[in-house]
Symmetry: C2
Subunit: 229 residues, 2 copies
DNA sequence: CGACGGATTGATCGTGCTCAAATCATGTGG
DNA sequence: CCACATGATTTGAGCACGATCAATCCGTCG
């Protein structure tokens, strides 16, 4: 799937929005090191790489959204992270990917050969530092998420999710969620029904409003923060 | 607490067992870079560093055991990792520690100034690579643990814990757990009672044997692996 | 030996899961 | 442009797993 997907990537042209923190600086930093980034588009539901596959590329979302997950043999799934425009994913220190990555909707990514990154890191201390910072950022997220998964109740998890998504993709006070209820549940360690019930309850309390199941407006962020333990 | 703890650390003398993978090579690698490691001992239950404190040192367990955790305001605790002899902990890419670390039992650590590590990494690409690998190793563990916390049932979690501890600290087929049932529960996202019940059930099935609550012998690792999803 | 903290075991409860049905949204073909 | 098909979401009813509350039991250390 990775092989198929990466036939003849075209050279990058569209710049990613040049705001935000370490993740966004990443491809910029590598640009200074003379690395060439390509672009590629994956269809909705398409696999970008699989768990345990050799790690050949590092990716940055240009548009769309990606889910990264692990599966148990009986199909139980834990989504470790969602990647949204500007986010970098697929960076490994070891030889293989440890989670599967899939496009949630049609998604365009910029990509960089892992090998060239490694080479750049060997001579450019800023690139090396950037690789470490990226991984440390993912670790920080995972540590916060372990607390959520191990110790928060359903409403706290959903409130936390809404605030995270609001921060990451709100436009004009509105967020357009790219993922379905099942994805949200598999991210939060809940079932899709429990997620739905929590959202309905928040709506009935006036804390949020819907315009379609995936178009959400937060009407009271402070109350949401109180709900998030 | 960190300040107090680190008054007058003595120069390192005892070498840590020179086996195991990336974590163990870490202090060795830094040794090549001419860095000086000190030793220090913490008493049982003593805090080594606190969440959000400035990260000044990197630690390696010489003897003893450490728990690293996050707390919610109402006291709910999620232990992210246990650190055992040979393990490195407290390494941050950012300025502060994101979890609290405490000695579970009397614990001796070797420590290295974070600043000197950063300086070494700026000139020695092996050190830089080592820092990245360490963080990536922690991330891998966190990713596996998110799957456990989000999607595994109580018995699967306990089986997984036993296999992890067996791998990391078994001596002559026996393991001496340094942590209490509450710590295990807070690591696995369970209560101490649930952990105790699972262990009792495994004993009644002959999968393990006790000689004191914390001295455990695994009698059937394969069956344990089957129980761990 | 006694006291104390840790561990086990029991009984009951409650949150979130499961199973099921109805409703809604979306896109496709006539 | 509408009708319908399909998948996503919501909502309901009942259940089960792990939590909670409580009472021993045990092991360790003074």
């Amino acid at each position: 799937m990775l092989n198929q997907s990466l036939r003849a990537p075209t050279v990058a042209k569209a710049p990613v929005d040049p705001s935000r923190s370490p993740a966004d600086q990443f491809f910029a930093t590598t640009g200074h090191a003379g690395l060439i980034a390509s672009e590629f588009t994956y269809k909705k539901e398409e696999e970008i790489y699989g768990e345990d596959e050799p790690s050949e590329y590092v990716y940055q979302v240009v548009s769309g959204a990606v889910r990264s997950y692990k599966l148990l043999s009986d199909g139980r799934r834990q989504i470790g992270a969602f990647y949204l425009p500007g986010d970098v994913f697929g960076l490994e220190s070891g030889p293989t990917h440890r989670l599967t990555a899939e496009a949630i909707v049609d998604t365009t990514v910029r990509l960089l050969k892992r090998r060239s990154l490694e080479q750049a890191a060997a001579t450019d201390v800023h690139v090396a530092r950037s690789l470490w910072s990226m991984t440390a950022g993912e670790l920080r997220h995972a540590e916060d998420h372990m607390l959520l998964l191990g110790r928060k109740n359903a409403m706290e998890r959903v409130a936390n999710f809404l605030l995270e998504m609001d921060r990451r993709l709100a436009v004009a006070g509105m967020m357009a969620l790219p993922m379905c209820r099942r994805d949200i549940g598999d991210y939060l360690g809940l079932t899709l029904e429990t997620v739905s019930r929590a959202l309905s309850q928040l709506q009935s309390q006036g804390i949020l409003g819907f315009s379609g199941a995936r178009q959400i407006e937060l009407r009271n962020r402070q109350q949401l923060r109180n709900l998030d333990a």
